[in-house]
């Protein structure tokens, strides 16, 4: 068994390493659309089941009731190179699923908060969450055709964002646009840690 285990450990070292980025924002803002636009696979869905035991207070027999909640999460995948995979997780929209956000945030490189100018307040909870948690994030404004025409500075002001947090205009349906949002995020994480912001030779400048 021991030799089997060390063999397994060796095998594990040869396996791909995975990292993740979260895509958060209000319901219907385009999280899964953005994940799908940049993912190399059609977005998949996984689910977590939360079991909550509660005792009926108005039942003198004290019958124990078990309630369950299912939280679905959409995700996509980008192979960065052989042996390194980036997963993009759309966070569950409702606030009552915070417990899932904690698991999703653990070890994440950073997060994208998608905003819709018609319902800007919908992204407040995501912004608050990542600020509290200290997880680096960028705000990506999904420019719907009938949305309001705000500048990034106006958005930053409306969301009361720290001046260093990038605000990017995007079209969640466009691969190129999603790519720009993600590279902005990773560049932002690097700059937070005092490393030169990314301006690679040959890379498109937006």
């Amino acid at each position: 068994m021991d030799s089997k285990r060390s063999e397994a450990a060796q095998r594990a070292a040869d396996m791909p390493l995975a990292v993740k980025i979260l895509v958060a924002g209000g319901f219907g803002v385009g999280k899964t659309t953005m994940v799908g636009a940049v993912s190399e696979i059609r977005p998949l869905q996984t689910e977590e089941v939360l079991t909550d035991r509660s005792i009926g207070v108005d039942n003198t027999a004290g019958v124990e009731q078990k309630t369950t909640t299912t939280v679905a999460m959409d995700f996509g995948r980008i192979t960065i190179r052989d042996g390194l995979i980036l997963y993009l997780f759309g966070t569950p929209g409702q606030d009552r699923f915070w417990f899932m956000w904690d698991e999703l945030s653990l070890g994440a490189l950073g997060a994208v908060v998608l905003a819709d100018t018609r319902r800007l307040a919908d992204c407040f909870p995501s912004v608050d969450y990542f600020e509290r948690r200290g997880l680096p994030f960028v705000v990506a404004v999904n420019c719907f055709e009938d949305g309001f025409d705000y500048t990034p500075d106006e958005i930053r002001q409306a969301l009361d964002l720290d001046g260093a947090i990038p605000v990017v205009m995007c079209d969640a349906r466009e691969r190129r646009s999603g790519k720009k949002v993600l590279t902005t995020l990773v560049g932002h994480v690097l700059s937070i840690h005092g490393h030169a912001p990314p301006r690679e030779a040959g890379a498109p400048v937006y």
């Binding site: 068994m1 089997k4 285990r5 063999e7 397994a8 450990a9 095998r11 594990a12 070292a13 396996m15 791909p16 390493l17 995975a18 990292v19 993740k20 940049v38 998949l44 869905q45 996984t46 689910e47 977590e48 089941v49 079991t51 369950t68 299912t70 999460m73 995700f75 995948r77 980008i78 192979t79 960065i80 190179r81 390194l84 995979i85 980036l86 997963y87 997780f89 698991e103 999703l104 653990l106 070890g107 994440a108 490189l109 200290g134 997880l135 691969r175 790519k179 993600l182 590279t183 990773v186 560049g187 994480v189 690097l190 840690h193 490393h195 990314p198 690679e200 890379a203």
Partner: protein, 126 residues
């Protein structure tokens, strides 16, 4: 409630009952199965003895899927089983040495410049 056991019979409960039946009611992985994170990568490293009563079709399905390394989230999505169930089944398989696990770097937000630059280059090359 219309009769004994009917609390299990609404349509939402159906798949869940099956899920927990699969894990024999266990909701957390076995002895060494601590934390199968959603992006932990699983790879099959052994062959299950078909005759064993402890090997179920779902175990075999995981072993077949992970002939090529796959994340826990993808296994859950492809087998249409909740993460909680997949984690228990993976715990079984790890206990008998049939899978290997590559865990993500999980110490809360390790800053790794090299890794970030790799991700950045990969994204720019998309």
């Amino acid at each position: 409630m219309t009769g004994h056991g009917s609390e299990w019979l609404d349509e939402e409960a159906g798949p869940l009952v099956r899920s927990y039946a699969l894990t024999r009611g266990r909701t957390s992985p076995g002895t060494r199965g601590e934390g199968f994170e959603m992006i932990a990568i699983i790879s099959t490293v052994g062959t299950a003895p078909f005759s064993s009563p402890n090997v179920w079709p779902e175990h075999l399905a995981i072993l077949e899927l992970c002939a090529r390394p796959l994340s826990v989230a993808e296994i859950s999505a492809k087998l249409r089983l909740p993460l909680v169930v997949i984690r228990v089944l993976l715990g079984d398989l790890l206990d008998v040495g049939l899978i290997a696990v590559r865990r993500p770097k999980q110490d809360d937000r390790p800053f790794n410049e090299h890794l970030l630059r790799e991700v950045l280059h990969g994204l720019q090359a998309l």
